[in-house]
Subunit: 233 residues, 2 copies
DNA sequence: CGTCATTTTGAGGTATTTCAACGAAGGTGG
DNA sequence: CCACCTTCGTTGAAATACCTCAAAATGACG
């Protein structure tokens, strides 16, 4: 499948939650800053469209974004959600693979590809940070594949929430998880219908495992059962 | 989701089918060779096990391998199939994420992580090749996620075969595709039961879209209908 | 050539999808 | 600031497709 995999384990974990600037020296951060332009955008603003010529890569700085593709059949597949520190701009044959759109108010940096590659080609340390970033993304993508392999809707949702928890929540043990995206976005990410999302969250709530406080915040009520549900069954 | 994405488009395509040695200078190839040890293995040989301390990364040279994880519930999820040129050894927190096992007779190179990272940290060009590799793997992983999003078994199988075609077949237009892995492996990769695989391939055969010549070779009979089935619906 | 694993086929059960309608929420303009 | 409108989320009922369990057939291997 060409699904090759590279493992550079030791630093990879340190980078995940914190964003990448932590790993950079002052000089490198300056170098990146000088190459990039910053943008603040309102919800629903499209950063780039699938199929467009890829000229830059981006770093999420604030808020949440979604990367998705509209398939010929009309269905929409959300490939990933982006949070602060995440790099986005995946391309193939010179064109962006997905459309990226802001979910909340957001901020991102744009770095032109040509200047970035020029820098990466002579600054191995800086490139290494990007290598770690992509490796991390690959792991997440595999985790999502496991999520998609589960058959029960409640299981998928529990696992989805767990992924959100690890990504967004400052500490992974915090049991209040922000859920900025819509139900439809969740459905398009976990591979279920919006109705199934609704029913499954209702069931989890009925069973006393989670509780929504408004549409965009969950609280894990029964941590034990949640864990066993969200385990990589 | 931390599913960040990096796009370095222009060279990425050149690398995909050919293996990476094409992109390396003689000196770099020598450098890598001097770091690596070669192994020839029979079918079913395990290269490394999930959870084991990660000490090396690997490059597939010959044959086919599978990377999988056995989940607590007893189900097995195949994360990816590896073919010549693919890099494998994905790790997290210093431990391999998957178990990798040979499907056919195979050959691979093993490169110790410490010496590899040492080289990558001062050879930006060589590291760039690895960056492209991982980026390619990320694209493939997203493609698989799209596959998993399809509901019909025949659609998943058509898409799976198409991925095989692009990866294995020398030219993507060749309509005879080797299928080295077992039906159970396919099932664990596309997220269906082995029975469903059987029934779906039977249906595709009945409809005159594909034809198996033995268990490990398919021929695309009706190229047109196959394409529309395998499209990223 | 015989044994064992893999694959195929059959029948019933179950979960999600779909289609449809209702209710809630958010945004806009008066 | 309120009312309307549009979008989003929830709930209900029937249909479809896959899963599971079980058994037969085929293929692989010594």
């Amino acid at each position: 499948m060409g699904l090759s995999m590279l493992g550079i384990p030791f630093v990879a974990n340190a980078i995940s939650g914190t964003g990448m600037t932590r790993l950079l020296t002052d000089k490198q951060r300056h170098e990146l800053e000088s190459l990039s332009t910053r943008s603040d955008v309102p919800p629903r603003r499209v950063v780039y469209r699938e199929g467009t010529e890829s000229t830059s890569i981006f770093i999420c700085r604030k808020g949440a974004f979604k990367a998705f593709r509209d398939l010929p059949s009309g269905t929409r597949r959300v490939a990933s959600f982006l949070f602060p520190g995440d790099v986005f701009g995946l391309a193939e044959n010179g064109r962006y693979v997905n459309t990226v759109q802001a979910i909340t108010d957001g901020r991102y940096n744009r770095i032109p590809l040509d200047s970035l590659t020029a820098v990466l080609r002579h600054d191995a340390e800086l490139q290494f940070v990007f290598l770690l970033k992509v490796t991390h993304a690959l792991r997440e993508s595999q985790r999502r594949a496991i999520l998609l392999g589960r058959r029960s809707a409640t299981g998928r949702i529990a696992m989805f929430l767990k992924m959100l928890q690890r990504t967004i929540a400052a500490s992974p043990s915090v049991d209040v998880i922000p859920v900025p995206m819509s139900r439809a976005d969740i459905a398009n990410y976990v591979g279920l219908s919006a109705e199934a999302i609704s029913r499954a969250t209702a069931q989890l709530t009925r069973e006393g495992i989670i509780k929504f406080q408004g549409l965009h915040t969950v609280r894990i009520v029964d941590r034990h059962r949640f864990r066993s549900l969200a385990a990589d069954i």
